[in-house]
């Protein structure tokens, strides 16, 4: 496999500063009331706004009440909306999701928090057998507008069971939408869209980006959601950085890394386009393929193990749809096919800027 280097330094996680700089360069800085906002704050604001807008929106899970969640995403919601609308449950993930199913059957819009990626597994049966299937089983009579928020992926020096990239399990399950924001503004926008969706949404939050900041105007985002309910952006990928020579396709925690790689490539005179998938399900083939047809080369980047994963799916789709436009095989930079490593080893595992640039170098350039 030519896409992998063993340089420990090269594969290190992209620094927050680099990611921020890249993001800010990509997002033409907004005028008006834009100010530095973290992803955590934009998610928190989205929850609060959704609860204010619709009394059937309920938030529950483990430690989401007084504590505000271990990542503070639900901070202040119990104080603002009362302990009937934002509350702690007993420690039982299947119970949390199963109860959400019943609540949604009976008129509520539950937004539940799984404390960490790997601790959502006890709820897997409820998610796969009921959340995903109820609408189909009842021929559309029963809709389950449930959002299951999952802080996921690594890069935070977390110990075992706190860093899984579990998105492929959910993406593989028909009937679930799977969203993963990579920017602060998308955090707000996409969480509002997820809560407004009549279909269940697995909302995968890259936990290493919780404290990343962008210049964002939350008022404008709120007004934007109220104006069109997310109809314009829901389910679409975004061009995070425009380029002409090759396409980097990434999602969630890998987007800032891809942007940093594109910035570095630019210095070497190579123009890389970065596509932020945002919505894994439904998948925006159009945006992805438009980019690859234009550039003729692509690298897919994901933290998750590559084998039988979302990244494999993207490669297959691009190959099926863009074959005659491709100048080189579509390559991947992904996590190794190993259990998520211990903190001192994770930088070997995570896709980093150098590993991405090596993959780009291997896209059979003529010169």
């Amino acid at each position: 496999m030519t896409t992998i280097t063993t340089s420990s330094e090269a594969n290190g996680n992209v620094s927050a500063a680099t990611a921020r700089a890249a993001q800010q360069a990509a997002q033409k800085s907004q005028a008006g009331r834009a100010q530095p906002v973290t992803l955590a704050k934009s998610l928190n604001t989205a929850l609060s706004d959704a609860m204010a807008a619709d009394p059937s929106v309920l938030v529950f899970g483990e430690d989401v009440g007084l504590l505000g969640g271990v990542f503070r995403i639900t901070d202040g919601l119990t104080a603002k909306f009362g302990d009937q609308r934002c509350f702690d449950t007993p420690l039982a993930e299947s119970g949390i999701v199963g109860m959400a199913v019943g609540m949604a059957m009976n008129g509520m819009r539950p937004v539940v928090e799984m404390q960490f990626d790997a601790f959502a597994y006890p709820a897997f049966e409820q998610i796969v057998s009921h959340v995903a299937k109820m609408h189909n089983r009842t021929r559309g009579a029963i809709k389950l507008p449930i959002v299951i928020r999952v802080p996921y992926a690594g890069g935070i020096g977390g110990v075992e069971h706190h860093c899984d990239s579990s998105e492929s399990y959910y993406a593989h399950t028909a009937g679930l939408k799977v969203y993963t924001p990579a920017t602060v503004a998308d955090g707000y926008r996409m969480l509002r869209e997820a809560i407004a969706s009549d279909d269940p949404v697995m909302f995968m939050e890259p936990k290493k980006l919780y404290w990343s900041k962008d210049q964002v105007d939350l008022e404008a985002l709120r007004a934007g959601h109220e104006a069109d309910g997310g109809a314009s952006s829901e389910g679409t990928a975004a061009v995070a950085r425009a380029g002409t020579d090759a396409t980097l396709i990434a999602y969630g925690p890998s987007v800032p890394t891809a942007l940093a790689a594109a910035a570095a490539a630019a210095e070497e005179g190579r123009s890389l386009e970065v596509i932020d998938i945002r919505s894994i399900v439904p998948f925006d083939d159009e945006t992805v393929c438009a980019s690859v047809r234009k550039t003729g080369r692509a690298v897919v980047i994901a933290e998750a193990h590559g084998f039988a994963s979302v990244s494999s799916e993207i490669v297959a789709r691009v190959q099926e749809r863009c074959f005659h436009h491709l100048a080189a095989p579509v390559l991947r930079v992904t996590g190794f096919d190993i259990p998520y490593p211990a903190p001192k080893l994770e930088h070997y595992y995570l896709p980093g800027v150098d590993r991405i640039l090596d993959a780009v170098d291997n896209l059979q350039w003529e010169d």
Binding site: L58, D83, Q84, T89, P90, A92, S94, G95, V97, G98, M99, A100, V101, G102, M103, A104, M105, N106, G107, M108, P110, P122, E125, Q126, S129, H130, K133, H135, N136, R137, T138, R139, G140, A141, I142, K143, A174, G175, K177, D198, D199, G235, V281, P282, F283, D285, E286
Partner: protein, 422 residues
């Protein structure tokens, strides 16, 4: 022990600190857990433990022979007294019992004729089926399992729609919201949590909905059973958990699932009341479930009722019960048949004459004939339905796949047209 009254309902929602010791208790007495229902025992003048623990004997009102038991012998003790249901209630229940038995046997025949893919029969458990539906009021919800078709019908769902699941043209044949009946659930005990959620939503809106959630004896070993009981108790929700202990989980007898004194005893661990009832005694079932529903509706929190019954036939038509149980055991239960018992009881009480009996038999026959017709029909299936309901609006990918299948089918049809045109 006497319970102090200073522990307000708020206390049990877990918003306060852990329970402080009440005055005057000696060391041998345990404080009931936070979350326990403290009003009901007070009302009945008994301790929390005596309220939560099932009565020493299962509740039985009518003997297998059809004889009404003396009140003292019905299994009741202070706080566990049960009212004999009214004549009207019992006659209506008997009517459903007869229909239920006919439906079970009709469906088993339809399976043999290849008209249904599979049917997990509740033959022998019809008293439980009927009581589970009849104890509920309009607007109350029922969450059944694959074995509970008769309960689903008794709650008002059309018989043919009820059996659609087993006919094989869709996963469910009715809209749960029409009669407040969940789709019959196969992943064991997952439906109990849906029951909890429905009750929780209703409670938050201030409605007085009660939810009855059903499962089998084997299913009580599943994790969701425990999570559902605990959630219902902690959130103090009006859910009646109704376990039909028919002695087997496919081939595995109860002794290999649990060594608890009874399944109803499991209630106390979650701070709710449990009760055992003879599951082949429709009179006792109606009495116990009616009271459980009334308590739940009155704000006493969830309850667990275990009905002792027997699966008279194999697990499904695909199972061979002779591999794991003796015919003699089955024969013993023939004498405890719920239908025979109820008929003898009603006749002895002078409540059921021949005319009424034949009216009911006719009604049962009409339902059976409806099933034969409905399930005998070849209902056309629409392959495009495969894509229609996965999401509320099909994704681009599903539209592409739908078009591919449509094209395939069109091409399959095309050569024949060409041939016939020639």
């Amino acid at each position: 022990m006497t319970l102090s009254t200073d522990r307000s309902p708020e206390h049990r929602q877990g918003t306060g600190s852990a329970a402080e010791p009440a005055g005057g208790m000696d060391a041998s007495e345990n404080e009931p857990a936070v979350g326990a229902d403290l009003d009901a025992p007070l009302r009945f003048g008994i301790t929390a433990e005596d309220y939560m623990l099932p009565a020493r004997q299962q509740i039985q009102m009518v003997e297998p022979t059809g004889l009404l038991k003396a009140t003292e012998a019905q299994g009741t003790q202070p706080g566990h007294e049960y009212q004999l249901p009214s004549t009207d209630v019992l006659l209506d229940a008997y009517r459903h019992l007869v229909v239920g038995r006919r439906v079970n046997d009709q469906n088993s025949a339809l399976v043999r004729q290849g008209r249904m893919a599979v049917y997990p029969s509740s033959h022998g458990q019809e008293a439980c089926q009927v009581a589970a539906a009849l104890c509920l009021s309009k607007g109350d919800w029922l969450f059944p399992t694959y074995r509970d078709s008769v309960a689903v019908m008794t709650k008002g769902v059309d018989p043919v729609q009820t059996m659609t699941l087993f006919r094989g043209d869709w996963h469910g044949g009715y809209n749960p919201a029409d009669h407040q009946v969940g789709i019959q659930c196969t992943p064991l005990t997952t439906q109990l949590l849906h029951a909890v959620g429905v009750a929780h939503a209703a409670k938050l809106r201030g409605e007085d909905t009660v939810v009855l959630a059903m499962c089998g004896d084997g299913a009580t070993s599943e994790g969701d059973f425990h999570e559902a009981l605990n959630f219902a108790a902690v959130f103090h929700l009006p859910v009646v958990f109704f376990v039909q202990n028919n002695q087997y989980a496919i081939s595995v007898p109860l002794a290999q699932q649990s060594v608890a004194p009874s399944l109803a005893h499991k209630a106390v661990g979650y701070g709710m009341a449990g009760e055992r009832v003879d599951g082949n005694d429709l009179v006792a079932l109606m009495a116990v479930l009616d009271r459980a529903v009334a308590l739940a509706r009155g704000g006493s929190g969830p309850l667990l009722v275990e009905a002792h019954t027997y699966r008279m036939q194999a697990h499904t038509n695909a199972d061979d019960a002779t591999r794991y149980r003796q015919d003699s055991e089955v024969a013993e239960w023939l004498d405890k048949d719920p239908l025979k018992r109820m008929r003898t009881y009603l006749q002895a009480q002078g409540l059921l004459d021949d005319a009424a009996e034949s009216r009911i038999a006719e009604e049962a026959e009409a339902v059976a004939s409806q099933l034969r017709t409905g399930l005998g029909e070849d209902v056309p299936v629409d392959p495009q339905d495969l894509f229609r309901y996965v999401f509320s609006a099909p994704t681009t990918q599903l539209k592409e796949q739908a078009a591919m299948l449509a094209d395939e089918l069109a091409r399959d049809a095309a050569p024949q047209e060409t041939e016939s045109a020639q």
